[in-house]
Subunit: 180 residues, 2 copies
């Protein structure tokens, strides 16, 4: 039940170390500046609060994405903009999230594997290559790139701040928010 208009969900998908959370953190203050409530639903953070019981096999990842989508739906229908930063490697999971949430903007953070592996922010690629962790997306677990994302960002050519500005421009162009 709403007093005002709904928000919508910005769903950032991409490989580990693609830059999803970094871009999300650039986006949030810009959304707030424009008068929105906005909240980061970061994959790792939400795992602690909502999915501590889940692992990283396919079924667990799907269940986790379902829970994140449920939270995003609640926020969006309460006028906020949930910004989801989640590897969400499977097309089927993202399609389910889109259907559940309705007002859904898929943003593909398209950083190539070689670049992600070079960045390796959390040292996970190194561990995966060494065999000390398993089910690492991009190494021994598949990542299925979006076929028709609303927005694609290129973190090789652009900084996180530039990517955030680009997303805002695209949101305007697509009619999700009025021009600043």
């Amino acid at each position: 039940m709403q007093r005002g208009p709904p928000g919508f969900c910005i769903w950032l998908t991409g490989l580990p170390s693609a830059g999803k959370t970094t871009i999300a953190k650039e986006l949030l203050p810009r959304l707030v500046e424009r008068g929105w409530y906005a909240d980061l639903l970061d994959g790792d953070e939400i795992r602690r609060g909502l999915s501590a019981d889940l692992g990283f096999d396919r079924k667990s990842r799907e269940a986790h994405a379902t829970r994140v989508a449920f939270c995003a739906k609640l926020l969006a229908r309460n006028g906020s903009i949930p910004v989801v930063a989640l590897i969400s490697p499977y097309r089927s999971s993202r399609a389910a999230a889109r259907q559940e949430i309705g007002r859904f903007v898929e943003v593909y953070v398209s950083t190539p594997l070689t670049v992600c592996e070079d960045r390796d922010v959390k040292g996970l690629y190194k561990k995966a290559r060494a065999g000390t962790i398993k089910e690492m997306t991009g190494v021994d677990d598949p990542y299925e790139p979006p076929e028709h994302p609303e927005i694609t960002v290129d973190t090789v050519r652009f900084t996180p701040a530039q990517s955030a500005e680009f997303i805002l421009g695209e949101l305007e162009r697509l009619g999700w928010m009025p021009k600043a």
Copy 2:
């Protein structure tokens, strides 16, 4: 990250058939009328979206309450009023929810067991007495009444609409919202 002031959580606890959801449904339009975003986090409904994997044993109930509290926290910090209608039989779970959410108003729907069992809205007491379901709160699973709830409502003397009005009055008196 917020553009404006936070909301707060109204957490209705009580036995099955105590009237939690009914009162919540009376509350919602009244909150919206006063200019708030508000959303019902109903125990049964949220189970489908968030906790389909969980049963009704103590550990599952605790995990479910943790997930509901996480959603309520997100909504409250985005300026909305989540109205939780959840048996939430254990004091420890409710204390954890209070700590997680921070801005938390515990409402005890104090309907006595005999009255709840007489109402038996979903026929669960009958099934529990017949032994066809187990772990039924009030029958073979404990309900721990709140010791210091912010608000207590008496559904024997008052209608759901009257209870909702009473809660609103108490929220004003306690400083959670301005007088209408």
